[in-house]
Symmetry: C2
């Protein structure tokens, strides 16, 4: 392995162990080695792809335009044609490419996975417009959340896979007595990859889960078929292209990473997952399809991340203003189109205690609405924080909820300073105590202020919902250490990652690679976790051979 | 942790890493600290249990005799009554016992698991007659294979669980900049056990898979419901009793380990596995039910070990006699009622090359039959090697195969020197080239000599059968290094552990804890492996909490 990549691997393994802050790449676009020229070149490359054929040399299939790809910023179809092959064809390609990769050493595979991450990073400015005009993210989030941060989650998975493979001793001499005789056996242990992996990615944040899945599979020796959401193919096609180039450049068959493009009308995921050669499924998307995958992937194993009812429990604070600014920020961030965005804000009916007295439920609602407005009604700020709405269905969903509670703040579009046709929406903030309204996930810019009998009831409902209906994150504000402790216990058992008393510049739902476990596997929000050992340990198996040591040592 | 147990844990972790030979307990009954007195006391304790109520203080349920328990040695029913409770009752018991155990430290749980192993070892001489008179094993195998060796597999699983939990950093301080501000978070990571585990054990070798499953579950914080095969309850009841005593002695609720006894007529496994509170299933038994478990355990996760078509590929040898003695020994060992016993012996049609010329297919058959006879027709030797036939169904199965090929050696009972009523049978050895005969698992004392076009065809068929129909072990004899290498490649991909050119005192299918991986998870013989990281890493999850470090550090 090159000295650079070897050092990076060591550093990633170490960061995963200490769980301290580290990143493989600078988060600031200004520190990208390509500079301003790279940004311009990236935009140019993106524009040259629109309405054309996406170049994937040697990829099976015939070109067909992905009609689902329509920019949330311009309303224009991207018109990119990708090679579309049958499920059988991509499997044939993957299986044909497999043997040399399966037989390559973990070192080789790991290095090439790290090289693919580098290639993706080098092309960050091509990924930025691709992510913006499919997922609807802002340019900044496209560069970091879907770029450097997502690559870090990928490298974290590579490090986890490396560590898991390194723990498998390759050779042993085993000696013991049988009766009066002594026997020595040479034993060899071999890492055998499981087989073809299908990686199903989502619409609004594809890269963040795709990279861990793709690289955990590749590092452990499995070919990967990427099945992108039909509305967000381009960023995945770019990632697939980068992987294929790196693999081919090292003499491997690029068929190790293929693209399976489908349409909403003729989805191909079930066929891919049900294929007899399918051995691993990584899925990010709706809870309903995630549950289907978990129940039906067998004999393949599955790793899922879906969504949930993330909650805020608001008990008390010295100063409520920064708390509400923090909560408002997380309701606005990418218009809450993230699986970590909070949805339900539980407030004791008697109000929130602060050092300057109790703030009533109504006052909390008004102040939170105002804090949101400070972001959502200032176009330049809104553009960088809320960005665009990925799917028209999200706006319809928000519309349909307006009369289901007391409107504290109505959803309203803002005028994007750069893209006048952008599909935008500030959050809808409703007060409701109806579990039929707040008790299921409503994906997008909508949040509920829910009155609870008291803080214990708030905690009870929020943690029970997390456990029973799924949640990835939870948030608690309290000046009472005992209550925070109880919240930690309750959400730990419910399987939601709890953030307590956080205010300030970090988005509440920021999840850091190497440090934050993402999804616990303890509730319906998913069965896998980025990145615990279980995320990688099942992707390969160990087989062994043994023979007498004396006469046949070789 | 006590110094002794801590040292033992360190040693087990080390042995699992180096994969060198080590055992926690001496394998020789003569070295048991209780001496001859313990042997007599054990037998007495066993006899006092027959026809009585099995003592499991505080266990839910009403006593009912397990009518399936009939000694293969005496033909007499054991008549032991165990507490029988409904599935709901045992789950209630397990769930009520869980919280304190879930909250206990990994250190505490690990130490108590090791203490339970010690308790079982202390009582070895009670387990010996219990194993003999249910599973039909010899006294020697009951002491080692089902005793010290099985406990070692249990300790191996404890060590694996310990290592997996130790890799989870409990606490970190995470610091990074956001814009011009710097933020520090205190992060805590918590191991959360998955929930109630059901351990389904088999008839002929229950302890060997039960201990790894029970202790992997307990060490990672999960309550365990043991569902023994209705014909082999007693050894599992003894193990459950030992665990309960150790747990209760340390102040934990003994309901953490319960027994779910059923009958062949009213089996309870599906109800236990389908229970809404079931989170983990460990299964050892038939391939058919194992496949059902794998497909239907969801939302529980499953770890299965079933059975397969273990093969011998006989290409060449300097001296064929010791090879055939070794193969004959493994056909005879416990009358091939082991999931590792070979069944199909592939021999090139042209014969086997040796340093003194080629031995024809027919001659190989004759010599192998004679080598078996040297064991199976000498009562004292047969008693210690073949032991008894666990189930009458096995004899019927062997009977039904007699006319499916050319009989090289007929199955014949031997007269057990100590138990005249013992159900015994030497192996049936048939020559056949009909895949309908040798192409499925025939559990018990039957083996097929299969002519192959040449050694490559032999290897091709044997490894394809392993991959497609399941196999745990494989055996190859060849003086040609290249051929052995090809066999290693073929069986590695097929997921069978290959032993090459082994002759001498070690039984071919001996599998050593800490050193030999048992089952690969790559073929239908099971999805789990003793003991890779995947065997333990999914039994717990990690949840986290985080908060600003400065103002709220505690």
């Amino acid at each position: 392995m090159s000295t650079d990549r070897s050092a990076r691997l060591v550093r990633a393994v170490e960061a995963r162990r200490t769980r301290e802050s580290w990143s493989a790449y600078p988060e600031a676009p200004s520190r990208h080695p390509g500079g301003e020229a790279a940004r311009e070149a990236g935009l140019k490359a993106h524009e040259s792809r629109l309405g054309g054929r996406f170049d994937l040399p040697e990829h099976p299939g015939s070109p067909a335009v992905a009609r689902g790809e329509v920019s949330p910023y311009t309303g224009e179809p991207l018109g990119v044609a990708y090679p579309v092959a049958s499920a059988d064809e991509v499997y044939r390609t993957a299986l044909a490419a497999w043997p040399a990769w399966r037989d390559a050493t973990p070192e080789t595979r790991t290095e090439l996975c790290l090289a693919a991450c580098d290639r993706i990073y080098e092309r960050s400015f091509e990924f930025v417009p691709a992510t913006m005009h499919t997922a609807g993210q802002s340019a900044a989030m496209s560069f970091t959340g879907s770029g450097t941060n997502a690559l870090d989650r990928g490298i974290e998975a590579i490090a986890a896979a490396w560590s898991a493979m390194e723990r498998v001793t390759p050779h042993a001499t085993w000696t013991r007595g049988f009766g009066t005789a002594e026997l020595s056996l040479d034993k060899r242990y071999r890492i055998v990859p499981r087989g073809v992996a299908v990686v199903v990615t989502c619409a609004s944040f594809p890269a963040w889960n795709a990279y861990p899945a793709i690289f955990a599979n590749l590092a452990t020796g499995n070919p990967v078929i990427v099945k992108p959401h039909p509305t967000a193919v381009l960023p995945m096609a770019l990632a697939v292209a980068a992987c294929r180039e790196v693999l081919a450049g090292a003499g491997f068959d690029p068929g190790l990473v293929t693209l399976a493009v489908d349409t909403a009308e003729a989805p191909v995921a079930k066929e891919l997952i049900g294929h007899p050669a399918c051995r691993i499924v990584d899925f990010t998307g709706s809870a309903a399809f995630g549950a289907w995958v978990e129940a039906n992937a067998f004999p393949a194993i599955s790793y899922t991340e879906t969504s949930g009812l993330n909650a805020v429990v608001l008990d008390s604070a010295d100063d409520l203003a920064p708390v509400l600014r923090a909560v408002a920020g997380s309701l606005c961030l990418f218009s809450a189109q993230m699986c970590t965005s909070p949805q339900n804000i539980f407030v004791p009916r008697a109000g929130v205690r602060t050092s300057s007295g109790t703030v009533s439920f109504e006052e909390v609602g008004e102040a939170l609405a105002e804090a949101v407005r400070q972001i959502s009604t200032v176009p330049r700020r809104a553009a960088s924080v809320l960005a665009a709405i990925q799917s028209p269905a999200t706006l319809a969903l928000v519309d349909g909820l307006r009369d289901r509670g007391t409107v504290l703040l109505d959803a309203a579009p803002y005028e994007h300073p750069e893209f006048p046709a952008a599909r935008t929406s500030g959050p809808l903030l409703l007060a409701t105590e109806d579990p039929a309204v707040y008790g299921e996930e409503r994906f997008g810019p909508v949040a509920f202020l829910v009155p609870a009998e008291d803080r214990e009831a708030a905690l009870r409902t929020a943690s029970a919902d997390a456990r029973d209906k799924g949640a990835i994150t939870a948030f608690c504000y309290s000046v009472d250490e005992d209550f925070v402790g109880r919240a930690e216990d309750a959400f730990a058992l419910a399987g939601a990652a709890l953030t307590s008393n956080l205010t300030g510049p970090m988005p509440l739902n920021f999840s850091a690679a190497y440090s934050d476990y993402h999804v616990s596997g303890l509730n319906p929000a998913g069965n896998a976790s980025l990145t615990d050992d279980a995320f990688v340990s099942g992707r390969f198996r160990v087989t062994q051979s043994r023979r007498p040591a004396v006469s046949h040592r070789r």
